[in-house]
Symmetry: D2
Subunit: 301 residues, 4 copies
Amino acid sequence: MFNIRTDLAVEAKELWQETAEKQTQLEGVIARDSEKNGYKITTVEITNEKGEQAIGKPVGTYVTIEIDKLINREDNAFMLGAETVAEVITSMLKLNVGDSVLVVGLGNEAITPDAVGPKTARNTMVTRHLVEKIPEHFGTMRRVSVVQSGVLGTTGIETADFIRAVVDKLRPDAVIVVDALASRKMARICRTVQLADTGIIPGSGVGNSRAAINKETLGVPVLAIGVPTVVDAATLAADLASEAGVHNLEPEDLSKHGTSMIVTPKDIDANVADLGKLLGYGINLALHGEITVEDINMFLS
Amino acid sequence: MFNIRTDLAVEAKELWQETAEKQTQLEGVIARDSEKNGYKITTVEITNEKGEQAIGKPVGTYVTIEIDKLINREDNAFMLGAETVAEVITSMLKLNVGDSVLVVGLGNEAITPDAVGPKTARNTMVTRHLVEKIPEHFGTMRRVSVVQSGVLGTTGIETADFIRAVVDKLRPDAVIVVDALASRKMARICRTVQLADTGIIPGSGVGNSRAAINKETLGVPVLAIGVPTVVDAATLAADLASEAGVHNLEPEDLSKHGTSMIVTPKDIDANVADLGKLLGYGINLALHGEITVEDINMFLS
Amino acid sequence: MFNIRTDLAVEAKELWQETAEKQTQLEGVIARDSEKNGYKITTVEITNEKGEQAIGKPVGTYVTIEIDKLINREDNAFMLGAETVAEVITSMLKLNVGDSVLVVGLGNEAITPDAVGPKTARNTMVTRHLVEKIPEHFGTMRRVSVVQSGVLGTTGIETADFIRAVVDKLRPDAVIVVDALASRKMARICRTVQLADTGIIPGSGVGNSRAAINKETLGVPVLAIGVPTVVDAATLAADLASEAGVHNLEPEDLSKHGTSMIVTPKDIDANVADLGKLLGYGINLALHGEITVEDINMFLS
Amino acid sequence: MFNIRTDLAVEAKELWQETAEKQTQLEGVIARDSEKNGYKITTVEITNEKGEQAIGKPVGTYVTIEIDKLINREDNAFMLGAETVAEVITSMLKLNVGDSVLVVGLGNEAITPDAVGPKTARNTMVTRHLVEKIPEHFGTMRRVSVVQSGVLGTTGIETADFIRAVVDKLRPDAVIVVDALASRKMARICRTVQLADTGIIPGSGVGNSRAAINKETLGVPVLAIGVPTVVDAATLAADLASEAGVHNLEPEDLSKHGTSMIVTPKDIDANVADLGKLLGYGINLALHGEITVEDINMFLS
């Protein structure tokens, strides 16, 4: 299996197809494009083990929303974007009235490109205690609890262990995990949201089942939401060289130089703030049927 | 039982004694003063239910360190202060070689006077993963993991539930919880550290056993470390009036005005930063026998 | 002249009237109440030296907006509040088309109750460079530049000197300074906005002309916008005691205890964030005729 | 003149020499290596217009300190590093007893790789007001004032205009400006400090005299201290390709992809915090003869 170096299924699929000898049909993978509220959406379904091997991602559904509309500041782009995220969440995570949800922000808030999870957590309405203590006011909302997992270096605890501990105690009906991802293409950085019903393996790679945060390990459905915020520097160099007609560069040749370096937009701080708000509002709209963006503003301020 | 409005045992004892009709011996309470490294230390032991009722705190040992020396920036005050904290921790929390410890920072980092716990967490060396993964380097250290519990409003999860979830998963040999406290006297604000082997009840009061974070609820010894950072505004007013010769003011009369107001030093930001460092370094020195302040600087930077 | 211990003209006037022997007419002071967009507004005009002496503030117009509506989260309260602030600014600061304005955020961003100025600065649209470099897009806007003055302890420079230096270089047509204030009553903390055409004397008091930031020292009209965020602890104690029927307490008696202590709301962080947004948006609406709250959202994000 | 894409004189010189046809002597440029306190130091002097054209930097002295020792956390590395910075400052900026100095932190604190200037400002002892108001205590120190210039987008004011305004008002005897730089090589990122007696042109390039912050424009000696924290993504790609044997890649070919992307270390937050402390302490040691690192700790905390 070739090493795909991307957390995005849509990108992994593209890379597979770009490889010269693989122009044939890709078995076990179904892709389709659509549009919601002016946002372009791509759905990649990996249906069997063949697809899994080709793409390097587990069987499941991966939905990608391109958010150029938001970045270009088109009219109503934020509200339409949040609604689009909400609609995709609703379609992927089948919830019943009264279900409770745990939202987990993965990543290190102190490292800007890694702060998408924490920023989303801050924009998510925490309602569990309110529904239980003031049911006359909040009784129609779903019970939502929110944790930030921290990272191994700041806690000493494996992220998956931490989340399992909280899930075992709270017994939510579903879990939503939000994380920053790595992409292979600069053009996708901070411009793409991926939602996957397969959960997530922090640090990625198929196989490390102990670290997986998914239905198998947690016992409840897990929706993973991610945004690519960085490209690995060595990967980028190889790709740029390739576009310039130089095809014999391997990321491995370069990794000694780029190993701890990342490529990220100059205005990553503003991007991550925007993304955390988009995802938080999308989650809120999806989980609490009747509310509006204005209600969320009021609740969070 | 009269309402003591303080989280400090030493203060509760003083208040009991100040009451005119209680100049008799206080049963079930033993107090003694001492000094370590130039720091004044007061130990209050509550030995039975009579003491418990008089003071309004559970049976156990409460050690208070007065840190004026540090605030006055005397020579070597920080190093001596951290060592003093470490010595008190060592005497109160009997640990064996190889024991693991969970350090919990309680409170809301975004509210400055409530950020003592989170700031201490940031100054605590996280070693659990290092000891397990790189034993050749870190094998002689204790395994320390660190979590910040957040607060109910930002997580939807009761603090005690959250900590129990983590303790059930990690099974540490001891827990240290660090929190900001309320005092009755302005003179103690940010100038006193209390260590108690009784654990802590966030929001305080005896009796609410569900919320307690102690040996009974967690199954392992719990050392609570706290620093008073606020006085309740109404309590303060009554006390100040009393000092000026006006004794008929009850905090209750004033609480309608002061209910959501706190009294805190102007430079609370700097104070809380200092305190978080003092407590974190004290914990590090106590848990890892051989290390120095300089080693900690290196590790944390 | 008795020491009024408040930065609010409306409060100083009340205090004057509360004093038993002063139930007579207050000369040199005109006060009137009104309402805009559901917000209560009080205008105090100090018209001559007699009023100046009675109130302890320089001759000029002081407009107070009570923002309970916003704090109670009534419908559209933010938009209406920002428009109210804008209307008052427009009526007090007569600007011509093409005029340029310097907005100065006073105070220390690291000390939460002192961060109203810096937070407002962050919510103010900076347009000076855009109008000059991209006139085809921004030519219809006023040129607005924004500085945060820092505080003496972090710069070594007197605030007034700093602002004069910038004004001498930029030569704006008007200056708006925003600062946190002290009030005498807890009920006004974070609930009142004062706008004054007299400028401001950081650290306050009449007479210290060297430190004044006003038309006289800067050579252009200066509008001061302030919000009380703290009460002096000793003043509070005397007031609370007085309300409880104890009238012989002087703040001076208590100041040895309360000297470096402040009284502030528990949720001061959220309050200051809200206020910075309200004032910034109000300034933006006042300075750039045609824009909407939505336009400002877009510009600032 | 070929476009050098680096703010480091030492790097520009290397690049000149690497070019095949320029193996001859470089006129107008003198370089020498030395060592201080275990730190490697390279001094590049550009002595005339020929050197200026070859290197693309104005005539003057550029000293580079390599701080690997600090990054590797060798014993006493911080103290020795701060002393090394101080010694270089002292040798480049001839100050008399009683001289006053303005320290300017350039850059945007909210963008991590651009925050070296602001972080240094926070670690610089502000003494101007203390020397003037409490001469009996601080009279032997130099008067140091500190400003952060902000950036055009957050102030609407050109950095050079802002600094000139402050210099005209304060009339310091010398100015030290601190800024983040761009390098061409990843190996230098966060590992090199450059000190130049030529001042600085924010945004760089020779010729834009209006924007220059130097002796000519300010009227007093200007020492510029900078640390490279980013590589331009397109430049990096071309360099990496070149090292892999592909020499026909021009940054220009790639810039359409990398234009707003930067390459920076994963742990840039920690790096910038370290660098701000190193430079601030170096400046403090240089400006106030007798003090120690311990004194600075005490003063700043």
